[in-house]
Amino acid sequence: MSGDPVIELSGVSRHYEGARAALDGVTLSVRAGESVAVLGPSGSGKSTLLNLVAGLDRPSAGTVTVAGTRVDRLNEAGSARYRRGTIGMVFQFFNLLDDLTVADNVVLAGELAGVPRAEARRRAAELLEALGIDRHARAHPGRLSGGERQRVAVARALMNRPTLLLADEPTGALDSASGEDVKELFRELHEDGQTILIVTHDLTLAEDCATRTVRMRDGRVESDSAAHAERSEVDA
């Protein structure tokens, strides 16, 4: 097992009016340095779980604590500050701002967090170089391939050295070659000690990049490989 808990969900439920519970009493703990893949079919609640951890949504019941912060208690401004300082997010469709250059997309995250512009630019240049896309720094995202765009999104997510990296179907919109590229990137990030929570349909992504898999169905945790491992240890 890795370090201290980074994510702690306790009895978390999320109900939407007129619909069945998107999450129903989920309890989950993720420790520093873990790379966790949340798997499940559509409507299983994995995206809702990610939104709650990201502070984009609030639970109807239960508590969400990330890096010691009670995310479920934050107001809008507090959530924004939490996202700047604690997490980085990677989306299926990249969600880059099309009218900004690649470098400016990455720098933006730093600037919003209050990092001086020069320092943010230096950090962005480092990240783009490290991710192998520095040659596109002055290009616009529309000119890049899907894999390259996702690398930019990862660079942006890492800009503020987040405690937790959240990824929502990071290979979902990519061809297989680009998808392999991104998987490799996530493996490297994990090896560097980055705590990662990936929501995905992609079993190979989970197998290649995650040290732990959580399967969800109908808003509940169906299985958790960490619990299985613990049970195996106890059995042994």
């Binding site: 990201a54 401004a77 919003l112």
Partner: protein, 794 residues
């Protein structure tokens, strides 16, 4: 329902933001169009409209009550050429003064008032419009005409008639307007007896309409026909409707350019706002149009669907707009009617019909153009809208702007917002135009307010501290014999009192008389000043105030009529003598409806100048005005003169009405500009929902999101303000001289120079304020939107 119908219905319901924006734009455009169109219609020959509406009297004839009976006068209705008649009505002329319940000083001199006894406001000819209050129902009640120089006696106040036995009072029960100007006031027929001086017989008034009345000659013939039909020498006076029309046209002409300017501004803004918003709303649907084409819709079907989708909310907005426009326009037209000296004209039905049909038609046209453009796009390109950027020139412009903004030493949320207008230059241009018109309207309105205040000051030219005038005789109530009317005091006695009383810095007396000037058809009034009148406060258009005997100044009306200019000599004839003066200046005198000359009394041969009847006194600094007035009043009492602390001037109702109208129209146009911004920002935010979600996911706080949205309108607002300022100044600079020209006046540069530097700076910032106010609500809404939902937006 057809498949296309379902697409339209779903489009209206599911794209509520666009639907609401289009509906709101149609509402605003309709409101503005009804208002602007109605103003333009009301400004088209307002006198003729009002005269026709009241079935006005072509001739108002007055008869001697001792020479003709009511029956004989009623028979004149059959005189040659008469098509309609009303009367006879009993008439008397009284000399009222403000009584209890009035807010004006007691003892103040009021103009003689012609009162007619009429049972009701209507009567076939001259159907009087009641502006306020109700028609008199019993003796002792009076309805004042709007044209009478009422110094401010309110409804419920009283007029005292000290010249009549028992000094009766009349309670003012209403205010009415007769476009024909048949009387100053009206009472019930049985109320005339109490207003008739002992030993006198009331006169009669008959009102006629004729088959031929368009020219002075025709009216002279009509008058002769009436005189012939009445008993000999019974006709004592007659007023032609052409005189009333001439006066009204002059009055109207002054305000016409102003009304037209505002009307056109309103129409222009309505077209702009509707066009911009509809084009924007359809533009945001380009991807959906791609989807429709992908599933088999033809371009024509797509266009039909989107025109219908825009028409549904536009029709709702238009219907609401007609209601709101009518509600707002009625009081505006009432004020315009006051300015024109006519009745408030109702909203022309064809304006409502034209606007109700025109707005949806305009919306359909713009929607058709935008949808047709989107429909012509290749389906793959339409589907890719918003997903692939960087390929077009517009994208390149947006990118350059974003890169440039990123370098600015500003918080990043603000610099992000500053670059946004460049991503949608056409939409930004629409918003710019809305702000531009709004700022122009504000600058124009402030300028007009300043100019009208200048006119008011010029009109009252009240530089004096003390006004000396004949004492108003007032016998104690109940005394039988009426006291004598005031007579002009001996000027020497007044001058002696003024000289003896310490505290006066300067004073001058004013006497007037009518003279004839060769080449001038009408009589000319000479105002002769005794003493130093250089400080009197008359505003000069050109040249200077006279400096001594033999010099004179005159308003443009006289200079035009007499065909003379500065430096020319003018000779006028008075009591058989000729007096020659040299014109040294053109004076601004807005209330002059006749020709006037202003000169020193010493210009006249000794002893022939008109005697001064009133005096104006300027006090030395530090002089106690109240004590001075008391002391001077005491000294003047023996010569039947009085002193008051202020010269009594008219309240400038026209100026107040114009200021009120200006304020109303400005607020409306600014609101329209703000709504134009609001609608555009709403669409912009709708289109940028995903980007907003991304920045919020990256940690942008709600306050920063508000900052980004507000910053996105900052440049547009600033540009609109900075360019709207000179445009407003230009409009003001063109309209004021046009107003003067219409009224036969010249405005000096001072009348246009009414903007101080601080005011100009504030007005230049007006565009930014309009833009920020318009964007505030959508900004707050964007800040409150759920980030998770925003990230899912397409």
């Amino acid at each position: 329902m057809s498949a296309l119908g379902r697409v339209v219905r779903a489009g209206v319901r599911r794209h509520r933001t666009q639907s609401i924006a289009v509906g709101l734009a149609a509402l605003v455009a309709t409101t503005c169009s009804v208002l602007g169109g109605s103003l333009l219609v009301a400004s088209e020959a307002p006198f003729d409209q009002a005269f026709d509406g009241q079935h006005g009297a072509h001739l108002t004839a007055r008869f001697d009550g001792t020479r003709a009976s009511a029956d004989q006068l009623a028979a004149t209705a059959h005189a040659a050429g008469v098509t309609d008649a009303a009367g006879p009505f009993r008439t008397v002329t009284v000399d009222p003064e403000p009584g209890p319940g009035s807010t004006v000083p007691a003892g103040m001199v009021m103009s003689p008032m012609t009162v007619a006894g009429r049972a009701s406001a209507t009567g076939g000819v001259d159907n009087i419009t009641i502006v306020q209050g109700s028609w008199p129902t019993r003796p002792g009640e009076v309805m004042l005409g709007a044209g009478y120089g009422n110094p401010g006696v309110p409804i419920g106040g009283t007029l005292r008639l000290p010249g009549l036995p028992g000094a009766p009072t009349l309670t003012v029960v209403g205010l009415a307007r007769s476009v024909s100007g048949t009387s100053d006031a009206w009472v019930t027929p049985d109320g005339i007896a109490a207003l008739t001086a002992p030993g006198t017989t009331p006169g009669y008034e008959m009102l006629y309409r004729f088959s031929q009345s368009g020219t002075a000659d025709a009216m002279a013939a009509d008058r002769a026909a009436v005189a012939a039909a009445a008993p000999a020498r019974a006709l004592t006076g007659a007023q032609s409707w052409l005189d009333a029309k001439q006066g009204s046209v002059r009055n109207t002409a002054m305000f016409l350019p102003f009304m037209v300017a505002f009307g056109l501004l309103g129409l222009a803004m309505s077209v702009l706002v509707a066009g911009n918003v509809v084009a924007g709303a359809v533009g945001t649907a380009t991807r959906r149009i791609g989807v429709l084409k992908a599933i088999g819709c033809t371009p024509a079907q797509v266009v039909r669907a989107y025109v219908a989708q825009a028409l549904v909310p536009a029709t709702v907005g238009t219907l609401l707009g007609v209601v709101v426009g009518n509600v707002l326009t009625v009081p505006v037209l009432a004020t315009a009617g006051n300015l024109y000296g006519t009745n408030a004209s109702g909203i022309a039905p064809w304006v409502d019909v034209a606007v109700a049909g025109g707005t949806p038609a305009a919306v359909a046209l713009v929607a058709w153009a935008s949808a047709a453009r989107a429909g012509r796009l290749r389906t793959v390109d339409a589907l890719a809208v918003g997903r692939t950027a960087g390929g077009t020139r517009r994208d390149a412009l947006a990118s350059r702007a974003a890169a440039l903004a990123a370098r600015l030493p500003l918080p990043r949320p603000l610099s992000l917002g500053l670059a946004q207008p460049f991503a949608r230059p056409a939409r930004a241009a629409g918003m710019f135009a809305a702000v531009l018109f709004g700022t122009t309207a504000v600058v124009f309105a402030v300028g007009m307010g300043g100019t009208m205040n200048w006119v008011q000051e010029a009109k009252s030219h009240d530089a004096s501290d003390v006004f000396v005038h004949p004492q108003q005789p007032s016998g104690p109530p109940g005394q039988g014999a009426p006291p004598p009317r005031p007579t002009a005091a001996d000027p020497a006695a007044v001058t002696t009192a003024l000289t003896a009383q310490p505290g006066a810095a300067a004073y001058y007396g004013v006497g007037t008389e009518d003279v004839t000037v060769p080449g001038v058809a009408r009589s000319t009034t000479v105002t002769a000043f005794t003493g130093d009148s250089g400080w009197a406060g008359y505003r000069m258009v050109s040249g200077r105030w006279y400096q001594g005997p033999g010099e004179a100044v005159a308003p443009a009306t006289f200079l035009t009529e007499a065909s003379v200019g500065l430096g020319d000599q003018v000779t006028f004839t008075t009591h058989g003598r000729e007096v020659t003066v040299r014109i040294v200046g053109e004076v601004f005198d807005p209330h002059v409806q006749t020709d006037e000359l202003f000169t020193d009394a010493a210009t006249y041969p000794s002893g022939t100048a008109p005697k001064p009847e009133i005096w104006f006194v300027k006090l030395k600094p530090g002089t106690d005005r109240a004590a001075y007035v008391t002391a001077l009043g005491g000294a003047l009492a023996p010569v039947h003169m009085a002193a008051t602390a202020d010269a009594v001037h008219s309240s400038g109702d026209s100026i107040l009405a114009l200021n009120s109208l200006t304020a109303t129209l400005t607020v409306l146009l600014v609101a329209v500009a703000g709504l134009g911004v609001f609608n555009t920002v709403v669409l912009e935010i709708r289109e940028r929902t995903r980007d907003t979600g991304v920045t919020k996911a990256l940690g942008m706080t709600p306050a920063q999101t508000v900052g980004t949205v507000l910053a996105s309108v900052l440049l547009t607002g600033a540009a609109g303000g900075v360019i709207g300022l000179p445009l407003g100044l230009l409009l003001h600079g063109r309209t004021v001289p046009a107003m003067g020209h219409s009224a036969g006046l010249n405005f000096p540069a001072d009348a246009l120079d009414v903007f101080g530097t601080p005011v100009l700076v504030l007005l230049a910032l007006g565009g930014v304020v309009i833009a920020l106010l318009g964007a505030l609500l959508p900004a707050v809404r964007a800040a409150r939107a759920r980030t998770a939902d925003a990230l899912r937006a397409e």
